[in-house]
Amino acid sequence: MAEEFEPTIVAFLCKWCSSAGSDLAGVSRMEYPPNVVPITVMCSGSVSPLYIFSAFNRGADGVLISGCHPGDCHYIKGNYYARRRIALVKKLLEYVGLEPERFQMSWVSAAEGTKYTQVIKDFVKELKPLGPQTKLRRNR
Amino acid sequence: MEKILEKKSLPQWLRKLSSYEIYAPTKEGDLWNFRLVVNPESVDLSHFQTVVSPKKIIFPQREVLLEFNSNEDGVEVREILPEEKPTVIFGVRPCDAKAIILTDKVFGGDFEDPYYWRRRKSTALVGLACTPPPSENCFCLSVDGSPHAKDGLDMLMTDLRDRYFLESLTEKGNDLIKAGKELFQEPKAADKKEAEKIWAESAKKIKRQVKDVKRIPAKLKGMFESALWDEESLSCIRCGICTYLCPTCHCFDINDEIVSSSPLKGERVRTWDNCQFPDFTMHSSGHNPRPDRATRLRQRIFHKFQYFVERFQNYQCTGCGRCVSKCPVRIDIIEVLDKVREYGK
């Protein structure tokens, strides 16, 4: 019997909102798929495009960037810069032919444990039919 | 052994060589490059100069040297020597073949590089005489070469319009002919005469030359501190084109590519390196003896026309002209050598 494909998602979560939101989901014993590799960054604005390309290069099936809602950034403006930069990265990845579903961004606040679980559940559901990411992955 | 092969029989001969891995110049857009032959019908030996020389088949740009894996007993290291696959490269120009012999001197000698020699020994080089010169910037005649030289080749093919005149020069060449024996005919005296006429004419078509090249190594010796290098390198943008495309350049770098750090798993990989890159000579102390473009240009000229001459009694340049044609800012090695020769007069 073939094993069902379990995608690996690398998630860059901003420390003050999204990472706290994911902690809330955990503490509240909410269930969500275990496919995420969470990486806490100080701010979604500190996520360099290099991290994203590197994640795909190392074999991530999906990459998520999650930060504070506009207006709520701990560093005031970081998420606005992120919004611009990530829009460009998303466009570039689609342009070279990577499936658009593989790269997502979300606003998740520290109180939104439920939203976080929903984002992850939706992401995993969208990635499963796509299969493993082979296009940008370093071939071993 | 001399033979004649009808041009239309070339694909059949290639099919008979199916036990070999065959490489030939392949057109990609407007450019030619050596690629593995998949369809013998598509092989066209009327090409101009390939962008990258055939050195990349014997000395690939990326080569795995060894693999390491950790297991319960520690770390297991496994040497990955290249398979000795019989290989043939068609359409090798005499300058590129001579370049391979020059590279043999570096990878041979006191220590024979096993990775290089395994590929080298299993590769047959089938040359193609240059009629007309493959590039506008050819100057092989100036550096002890010629458009029909046989150095390093296992066979030389000369294009006689509807047929090829083949000369087998080694055992490997003889084996290639044996594989397709019924496809060949014996050459007539007129065939050989026509080939010789073509060779003589091809030498006249080489437009560029380095005058008095014999005086250059000695002249260079006194020019290490010269201001000429600053002037000539003003427009150099320190890319890497001249060195990567050069058939005789062979510097390499070795890096570990880690697949996973725990448990440790990875490969040690050799890749081409480039003395024109700014950090080529960066020491771990932070000192860089070649910190600017002038010193790096000087290094390139000295290596090719002084150090190599002292060490191996050969210019390390075979006059293919790729560096001249492809330099983004048109730094011309022939002009630089002319200036070296005239310097101080």
Binding site: L50, S54, K77, G97, M105, K135 | V51, I241
Partner: protein
């Protein structure tokens, strides 16, 4: 068209008056069609300058070299360098000013307008001449180029052999200059992103196949990066062995240096390099086309950067290289920036 004599005289004047350290322009190469960059230090040398449709180089690249050279000197000469600049190249200078990489007083710009013309694409020219070799090209009357071959002179309509980017030109007249030669007529470009349609019209899988085939060829010679005026970082994040080591760098720092991509020229690593470069050029690339011209494997690099240039304009209304006071694309934001892609 700008008169060559005026150009030479201007260069001679600024050299004689000591206004600049040296001037950079174009001179004829004795071998081949394209010119060489000319570094003019004495007034007599100015006579070798040319202004022809072959003057494709973006000379603003040499501003980066000059800055590096000055950084190493103890008492650098603070005078500007004179630069002969086309419309597209002038936008590169403006981007360098936007990012405060150079000061306005570092460069004396001799602007030359392309008027309704532009620069020639060597490949298109070769195809047009079908084997005949071009020895010289000059600007002709009525938007023609006059090409001299061994068989005489031919007139070719410029639109047939102009570089593709000239057909999408946004600035045929330099947007910034100290002196402007030539008419201020603007070249019409009805669809500035027309060439992109070729790639954009492909499906995602076709685009992937296209880029994979192209980037498989890449030998990572870094010529594209070396020729780009905007790629001025001393330590490029994509060149993992290139680490600015000084006497103060600790062993710890050397050991922990992150390797974002391997040196091996395989498709996966080539993608990372080219995508990182494209993203770092988003909102900075002004389409001088040099990256594509210098690539020895003819990889169509303009298309990679052009797409983000289009997105920057459509998503954020941003056009680089026109206003030296404008902040960089990713160093500013608007409240109305699109966020429909965010959950």
């Amino acid at each position: 068209m700008a008169k060559l004599e005026e150009l030479k005289n201007e260069v001679k004047r600024i050299l004689k008056e000591g206004k600049v350290k040296y001037a950079i322009g174009y001179e004829r190469d004795t071998n081949g069609l394209l010119p060489k960059p000319a570094f003019i230090k004495k007034t007599e040398e100015a006579d070798k300058l040319i202004w022809e449709p072959t003057c494709v180089y973006n000379l603003s690249r040499f501003l980066v070299d000059e800055k590096r050279k000055m950084a190493k000197e103890k008492n650098p000469d603070q005078r500007p360098i004179g630069l002969i600049i086309k419309g597209c190249d002038s936008r590169a200078v403006v981007v360098l000013l936007q990012e405060k990489f150079i000061k306005r007083s570092d460069v004396y710009l001799i602007g030359v307008s392309c008027e309704n013309s532009g620069v020639v694409d060597e490949r298109k020219l070769q195809k047009k001449l079908k084997g005949k070799k071009a020895e010289k090209i000059e600007f002709g009357e009525k938007e023609n180029f006059v090409v001299t071959t061994s068989e005489g002179k031919i007139e070719i309509p410029a639109s047939e052999i102009l570089a593709e980017r000239c057909l999408e030109c946004k600035a045929s007249v330099p947007v910034i200059s100290d002196v402007l030669l030539g008419e201020k007529t603007k070249r019409k470009a009805d669809n500035p992103f027309k060439s992109l349609e070729r790639v954009e019209s492909m499906s995602a899988e076709e685009r992937w196949a296209f880029w994979k085939a192209e980037l498989d060829k890449c030998i990572r010679c870094y010529a594209c990066r070396s020729v780009c005026p905007m790629c001025y970082c001393d330590e490029c994040v994509a060149d993992t062995i290139n680490f600015a080591v000084t006497a103060d760098t600790t062993a710890e720092e050397k050991a922990q240096k992150i390797k974002w991509l391997e040196k091996s020229p395989v498709a996966s690593e080539n993608f990372v390099y080219h995508m990182v470069r494209a993203i770092h050029l988003a909102g900075r690339c002004i389409d001088c086309g040099e990256c594509e011209r210098v690539c020895p494997l003819d990889i169509p690099l303009r298309f990679l950067n052009k797409y983000l240039e289009k997105e920057a304009q459509e998503l954020f209304g941003y056009e680089p290289g026109f206003d030296p006071e404008q902040p960089s694309l990713v160093a500013c934001f608007k409240d109305e920036d699109p966020q429909d892609f965010i959950r």
